[in-house]
């Protein structure tokens, strides 16, 4: 690790001003990507601004419309064990409970995951499939606009994710096939039927450009919410990732299989 200066702001405003003052600062949430990257000397931030002690970023609450608001610094373990999330968004609870291992789940956070936008991370699929809204210290951003490319988001330079608001959903479920080594998603599919009856399906781990929606599956499930309806939907492998762990064709197969399993789990 290179030398860096560590900051522990108590308020969002303080964090924002620290961020604005530094050219090469990095925000530290759960640190599950940033710290290993720094230890390997692949990142050299001048300043590290720790968001883990800001009260405004914590807490899980039900919104008046039946959705769920989750603070950016809420850990995966807290999401997985939240009664509100389990009741309202069981797919999100399942997803959070399957991220990494217990150590990762007790350190890693929702805000850190989506701000990093790793193409194999789980949360982006939930946000996109549920049509969630990302709340920052400056504005609100629709999930459809938030994830822009691999490891890239719509966040501005001095912008900090403060919460994610998920709308009410009738059904939600997530199924992933983990990379045997890293246990990140090689193909993860989140299926959602929203309060307005619309169906959205998002895939992670498999796309060359990161998380993406699978329109053909949304159409199939819109008219017939069943595992059989997606069984015949093949995802074109043209835009899928290929690496030593799985070819694009294999990932395409996994997307269909995971979609079937997610729909079956959603009931």
């Amino acid at each position: 690790m290179y030398e860096t200066t560590y900051h522990r702001p108590k308020t969002l405003a303080e964090a924002g001003s620290l961020l604005a003052k530094s050219d090469e600062a990095k925000l530290l949430a759960g640190g599950q990507t940033l710290i290993p990257t720094m230890k390997q000397r692949l990142a050299a931030p001048s300043d590290v601004i720790d968001l883990r002690h800001i009260e405004d970023l914590k807490g899980i609450t039900e919104t008046p419309s039946g959705g769920v608001r989750i603070g950016a610094a809420v850990t995966h373990a807290e999401v997985a064990s939240s009664d509100i999330v389990k009741r309202q968004l069981p797919g999100v609870a399942t997803l959070a409970g399957g991220i990494g291992d217990p150590h990762v789940r007790h350190m890693g956070t929702l805000g850190g995951s989506i701000a990093n936008n790793d193409p194999a991370a789980d949360y982006p699929a939930a946000l996109l499939a549920l049509g969630a809204t990302v709340v920052t210290n400056k504005r609100e951003i629709a999930a459809d606009d938030f994830f822009t490319a691999l490891f890239e988001t719509a966040l501005g330079e001095d912008e900090i994710v403060t919460a994610v608001v998920f709308p009410k959903a009738e059904k939600s479920a997530y199924a992933k096939y983990p990379n045997p080594a890293s246990r990140y998603a090689m193909a993860g599919v989140f299926v959602a039927k929203l309060g307005d009856g619309s169906v959205r399906v998002a895939a992670t781990g498999a796309g060359q450009g990161g998380v993406f929606r699978i329109g053909a599956m949304e159409q199939a499930l819109g008219s017939n919410w069943s595992a059989d309806a997606v069984a015949g939907v093949k995802v074109s492998d043209g835009d899928l990732l290929a690496d030593i762990h799985g070819s694009a064709a294999y990932r395409a197969n996994l997307l269909t299989v995971m979609a079937k399993r997610a729909v079956a789990a959603a009931g």
Binding site: Y2, Q40, R41, P180, A181, I244, S247, Y250
Partner: protein
């Protein structure tokens, strides 16, 4: 057996310190004025070094020195060596390219060290290492052994034309050809044995301290064999004569073979400690471990098995190309030859075998012995061939093995080895019973209802352990003898110190060696301490590898115990005025048989040291040493049965049952043996399903971290069912065969045979990743559309 004697499940004495974090590893050692080393490593697989500019690095904060290969050579430090001479079939010696601890002219694999920085802190050393400017001219690289032999392939070493190190053979080619000429059936397979990274939990480390006044070095390091390290550092690398070099291997967190060898980094720390005048510490990070610890396996084999009309095997023909990486590591030459081809007879009576092995250089990390070392590769060839041959001739795979088992001993194979004892049918029967082989069909049908493909696979392995009879290995090219030494020191109060040349880096010697003493003298293991891993304390030893600590190391202890016992009996007989032949040892006492006369063991020890009343002419004291040189290898063997369920949608394999029936001869501590088998099986399953060192064409290691190199985790393996059968090894006093490597040797073919059984193919390579299995299932479904 007593409560703590041979055969007792004594809890590990060393675990108190390991579990409470009180172990003392090399990185826990400090020395006054200690500096830290960081190595500058090649980012290229193959490149000429045009220049190395150390000036910027030398000016950085805290830097003591920046040293390069030119200085190393200038100081007379020798090249690294391979200590086992192999001759090609044309009689020429193997072609060994020069390997410098710091390369000055041409790097040949990613991660090769070209310079070292010594600084006040590890971070400063690393910062400065990044500031060393190396101007490389990249050269074309080759990573695959077959490609390396092709015309026009990049050439690594001027000594080795065509990158060929040796072209070696064993067995009777003519007799083998004749067997194939009259064969009723021939089974042919192309078999790959994937390259593995050892991944000991503790990475390699060294702390070297030079005492200028005494001209004496001390090296603390992660070694499986500190005396061999001292010998090689003295005799070949000119670091210091042996009496001026102390090597200490304190607690060591796993080795699996990778800590047998002398590597550049440990040598450089010694040299740098004299050059800089300060002790120098280096601890590998995990990336360095991936790039520089000797890798394992990496064979490409074409094998043919000839059967007669009764389905008896009459011949085996094997051609193997082994990838040794960029340089010849310390024992690398012996692994694909005498540790591999000599086991190709397996458990079977095969009258004619011929094997040709070519080893080649490539631009990859050097390859050497890794848990099993040659024997897993042999077992994998033989046991995949057995399964496939059985299927081709329509025999049950268990019955096909049974039909071809060796049944009388000693048995001379056509490939050097003379098996001394065994009962292969007993372990096959035990395994089939534990696996409920008869009920497999029912389980397969039930799995099919759940949409799963269930398969079962066998592996009847044999290994040559107890390495090794010195005269025999000497005649085959080994540069060292492979005996072991021990010393038993009984203190005046009756406590006992056992000094052994074996080294424990996870094996539990402090417990099992103490059990030998408890068994012999009836004293508690708490009154016994085991001393090992320090060249100043133990006179000499060959270390621990090749499942040798029990069969060889303990045999030396037994020989020393015999001498101690004889002397103790003489003293007791004298003190109790009885005949020496009437003295027996029971429950910690020396008794006169048939009387009520007895003396506690400690009183006899005390008498030996007070020397007030000893038999006439006897020397005082109670301390004896012994060297034990085995007369043969030992031959652990057994049968493993693996049962898998495969998800056809994803290709994921789940091991739902795994049975191991092993014959290790005499077992000292069944709990520790089970732990060894669990670990070995898990490594073997890792090789079969998960692990693979994968290089891209330019020679970059794609799997250089746990993000991509898949180590087995607890949820990847089942709860193992273990059972043992016992035939005693006639060659050593306790009848031990060794258990450290069996699991890793026997399990990979059992797993692959189960997978191929489940999906109805004979062809799948390790690691059988979900995608490979899924594709094989797709291909089996619709051959024409297979990609």
């Amino acid at each position: 057996m007593g409560a703590e004697g041979i055969g007792a499940r004594v809890l590990r004495k060393e675990d108190r310190r390991f579990i409470t974090g009180k172990g003392r590893y090399t990185d826990d050692m400090t020395a006054p004025g200690m500096g830290f080393a960081a190595f500058v490593r090649s980012p290229h697989a193959h490149a000429a070094i045009k220049s190395i500019d150390t000036s910027a690095a030398a000016d950085m904060p805290g830097v003591t020195a920046v040293l390069t290969g030119d200085q190393l050579v200038g100081d007379g430090v020798g090249n690294l060596i391979c200590g086992w001479m192999i001759h090609s079939k044309d009689g020429t010696p193997m072609k060994m390219g020069a390997w410098r601890a710091l390369e000055a002219e041409r790097v040949r694999h990613v991660g090769q060290a070209v310079a070292v920085v010594v600084a006040d802190t590890a971070a400063q050393a690393r910062d400065a290492a990044e500031a060393v400017m190396v101007d490389y001219e990249e050269l074309p690289a080759v990573v695959d052994a077959i490609d390396a032999m092709k015309e026009g392939a990049p050439q690594l070493h001027p000594e080795a034309e065509g990158n060929l190190i040796y072209d070696w053979e064993i067995g009777d080619e003519t007799a083998t050809n004749e067997a194939f000429a009259r064969a009723k059936h021939v089974t042919r397979m192309e078999i790959f044995n994937n390259r593995l990274v050892p991944n000991a939990m503790e990475p390699r480390a060294a702390l070297a301290a030079y005492d200028e006044a005494e001209e004496h070095y001390t090296l603390w390091t992660t070694s499986q064999n500190p005396h061999v390290a001292r010998l090689v550092l003295s005799a070949f690398y000119n670091i210091a004569p042996e009496h001026k070099l102390r090597v200490i291997a304190p607690d060591v967190g796993g080795g699996f073979g990778s800590k047998i060898y002398i590597y550049p980094e440990e040598m450089v720390c010694l040299w740098a400690s004299k050059r800089t005048g300060r002790p120098v510490k280096w601890v590998a990070d995990r990336t360095e471990a991936f790039l520089t610890d000797a890798h394992g396996r990496d064979h490409h084999t074409e094998a043919e098995m000839a059967l007669d009309e009764h389905n008896k095997i009459i011949g085996l023909r094997v051609k193997t190309v082994a990838n040794l990486g960029a340089y010849m590591s310390l024992f690398s030459s012996s692994v694909p030859t005498y540790l591999y081809a000599t086991l190709l007879s397996g458990q079977y009576d095969i009258p004619a075998i011929h094997c040709n092995v070519k080893t080649v250089y490539t631009n990859t990390t050097p390859v050497d012995a890794y848990r099993g070392a040659g024997r897993p590769e042999a077992t994998y060839v033989v046991e995949r061939m057995m399964e496939t041959a059985a299927r081709e001739v329509g025999m049950d795979p268990a019955e096909f093995r049974r039909k071809n088992f060796i049944r009388s001993f000693p048995h001379q194979t056509p490939v050097i080895m003379c098996y001394d004892a065994g009962d292969y049918e007993a372990s096959l029967d035990a395994a089939m019973k534990a696996a409920d082989y008869a009920g497999f069909g029912t389980r397969k049908a039930e799995a099919a209802k759940r949409g799963k493909l269930r398969g079962i696979g066998f592996s009847s392995y044999i290994e040559a352990c107890g390495i090794a009879p010195s005269q025999a290995v000497g005649s085959l090219g080994a540069g060292v003898g492979l005996w072991e030494s021990a010393e038993v020191r009984v203190n005046p109060v009756g406590t006992i110190e056992v000094l052994t040349g074996s080294h424990s880096h996870g094996q539990g010697h402090e417990t099992t060696f103490a059990q030998l003493i408890a068994d012999r003298f009836g004293v508690p293991t708490d009154s016994v301490s085991i001393v090992h891993g320090d060249t100043d304390k133990v006179q000499f030893g060959m270390g621990t590898y090749g499942s040798r600590s029990g069969a060889v190391g303990m045999s030396a202890v037994v020989k020393a115990l015999d001498k101690v016992e004889a002397k103790a009996k003489k003293i007791a007989a004298h003190l109790m005025e009885a005949a020496e032949g009437d003295i027996v040892i029971e429950g910690g006492e020396l008794k006169v048989a048939g009387t009520d006369k007895s003396l506690p063991f400690f009183q006899v020890a005390l008498a030996a040291y007070t020397a007030h009343n000893l038999p006439a002419g006897m020397e005082p004291g109670l301390k004896e040493g012994a060297f034990y040189d085995p007369t043969n290898f030992t031959f652990p063997a057994g049968t493993y049965v693996c049962e898998v369920e495969i998800d056809p949608d994803t290709g994921r394999t789940e091991i739902v049952n795994f049975v191991a029936a092993d014959d290790f001869g005499k077992i000292i501590n069944p709990m520790i043996v089970e732990g060894q088998v669990h670990g070995g099986l898990t490594q073997g399953i890792g090789q079969a399903l998960l692990e693979n060192a994968s290089y891209d064409e330019s020679g970059q290691l794609l799997t250089a971290s746990y993000m991509d190199y898949c180590m087995p985790r607890a949820d990847d393996v089942p709860s193992y069912k273990l059972t043992t059968t016992e035939t005693l090894c006639p060659g050593n006093p306790l009848g031990m065969k060794g258990c450290g490597e069996a699991g890793a040797i026997g399990s990979p073919p059992a797993v692959i045979n189960a997978i191929t059984n489940a999906i109805g193919t004979n062809e799948i390579d390790m690691p059988a990743t979900p995608e490979k299995v899924w594709r094989a299932i797709q291909a089996a479904k619709m051959p024409a559309a297979a990609e």
